[in-house]
């Protein structure tokens, strides 16, 4: 029986491996530019995952574990890890690029396992260009296998300057393949991809056109689309959209998803490289309730202090982790806002 909760966090992200078989230009994983720990084994063993999750459960009413990476399918025991979580009564969702959904692997997952699969475009060349590899066909084949094996998936579409025009067709392709949910996540910048910002960040006109296209498609099929990575209302007004659900950074609240890395270090979320504590040495509650964690969530960007928008309290400057990763401070607004708002409109008109 679970002991009394010492913190109210009910979900965590576990990063199984610090490696990926794709090479996306917009990837935010901090370890892509931090090679200082390259000599250590950069993965969690099955028993370690069990121990770490059990440690979190000692302190928190955990219900959901999102398995991420890198690419979690690079871990050969991924299905067994998901089985362990299911046996413990936890919901698991596997966040994957969808390139390794092989028959033999899929058979070993519990029926009904939830996957979150990235698809950048319905155009094979464009998807491959964004993924940095020729993988489009293998993802589509994998998703058909996934359905045959009773798996379920949510389509994650990362909107960049390159694919913002193809949102509608990509959503339709996802729905045709059996997606049960659509996540439209605008690109989120990190130190690694900041130098490419002018090539990957859509301008405000493109961003709005992509949201308009998503809204139109959602209306057509009577679905809802989750716009999960925060889009500050100073860029696009979320109240324009009926079928899009906008998400905001939980900033340490009960909806937060602290992230446990391959090295058992706990971070505020999967976007941040800031280490809040080591789950091998401290309890989860001690980490979550520490002054260091409180300090992480506290700053409000100076650009937003005079904001009078009705959503200002929700927004608070977009993604604080992105500001921290790119500028080294959370006192500044999410770099996406500055770059998206400032970048010149594209030459080509964007349509769904």
């Amino acid at each position: 029986m679970q002991s009394e909760a010492k913190c109210d966090i009910n979900r965590v992200v576990v990063e199984l491996v610090a490696a990926c078989n794709n090479s996306c230009a917009h990837c935010y994983n901090y370890w892509q530019h931090n090679s200082d720990k390259a000599n250590q084994p950069r993965r969690l063993e099955r028993c370690e995952v069990r121990d770490l999750v059990s440690k979190v459960r000692d302190d928190a009413p955990l219900s959901t574990v999102a398995i991420s990476g890198g690419e979690p399918f690079l871990h050969e025991e991924l299905p067994e890890i998901v089985c362990d979580l299911a046996d413990d009564g936890l919901n698991a969702v596997v966040i994957t690029n969808g390139t390794l959904l092989g028959e033999a692997r899929l058979k070993r997952f519990p029926t009904g396992t939830a996957f979150e699969v990235t698809l950048f475009s319905a155009d094979a060349d464009l998807h491959n260009r964004l993924a940095g590899r020729v993988v489009f066909d293998s993802i589509l084949d994998g998703l058909v296998r996934l359905e045959r094996h009773g798996g379920r998936f949510v389509l994650a579409l990362v909107v960049t300057r390159l694919n913002a025009h193809d949102v509608s067709r990509t959503i339709e392709l996802g729905l045709a393949l059996g997606a049960e949910g659509i996540m439209l996540n605008r690109v989120n910048l990190s130190r690694r991809c900041l130098p490419l910002a002018d090539q990957i960040v859509p301008d405000a006109t493109m961003l709005q056109a992509s949201l308009d296209a998503a809204e139109k498609t959602a209306e057509k099929y009577d679905i809802s689309v989750a716009v999960s990575v925060p889009i500050p209302p100073c860029l696009v007004d979320p109240q324009r959209y009926r079928k899009l659900s906008f998400g905001w950074c939980p900033r340490g609240g009960s909806e937060s998803y602290y992230t446990i890395g391959w090295n058992s270090l706990v971070r505020p979320c999967n976007h941040s490289s800031v280490v809040l504590g080591d789950l091998c040495r401290e309890t989860f509650a001690d980490i979550v309730n520490s002054a260091r964690t409180t300090d992480f969530w506290a700053p409000e960007p100076k650009e937003c202090r005079r904001c009078r928008h009705p959503m200002a309290k929700l927004c608070r400057g977009g993604c604080p982790a992105a500001a921290d990763e790119c500028y080294g401070t959370r006192e500044r607004i999410d770099p996406f806002v500055a770059i998206c708002g400032a970048s010149p409109p594209s030459d080509s008109s964007v349509s769904g």
């Binding site: 992200v13 519990p110 058909v144 392709l173 049960e180 949910g181 659509i182 659900s245």
Partner: protein, 140 residues
């Protein structure tokens, strides 16, 4: 051991559901229509867009879990068989930033998916061979 394939019913929800959003109900078939009864309320289950007739027919007479939208308290977002110790309810997780909220989860009905596939072949987004594979998966 080969696990038995299980398809979700009607729509999909998730998370450990609080009592206020998940209730016990029963599926009924009357004069060509399917209904779910929760307490004293009877709601018609729309067939076609999000759930096939066969999927709903399998639930007739059974105790089901009925999940109501947290935003619109009367709107049903999911119906599924009541979980037993052997057969847990499939639940989608909520994550704010990178994983969608359960109220947003729905899978298109088979007919709508097949129509989409036909369009995609016409627009040369997918090949006829690949379309056959998807149709095969849809038909189980």
């Amino acid at each position: 051991m080969k696990l038995k394939r299980k398809r979700p019913s009607v729509a999909i929800d998730t998370v450990p559901m609080p009592e206020r959003t998940a209730k016990r109900g029963k599926v009924l078939y009357q004069r060509g229509k399917y209904y779910v009864i929760v307490g004293r309320r009877r709601s018609e289950i729309p067939i076609g867009t999000f759930a096939s007739r066969a999927e709903i027919a399998r639930l007739v007479g059974k105790d089901v879990v009925v999940v109501f939208s947290r935003r619109r308290k009367t709107e049903i977002v999911a119906i599924g068989t009541w979980p037993t110790p052997e057969r847990r309810l499939i639940r989608w997780p909520i994550i704010v930033c990178y994983i969608p909220a359960p109220d947003l989860m729905r899978r298109l009905g088979d007919e709508m998916r097949l129509a989409l596939i036909r369009n995609m072949v016409r627009e040369k987004i997918i090949s006829p061979q690949f379309a056959r594979k998807i149709r095969g998966a849809i038909r189980g």
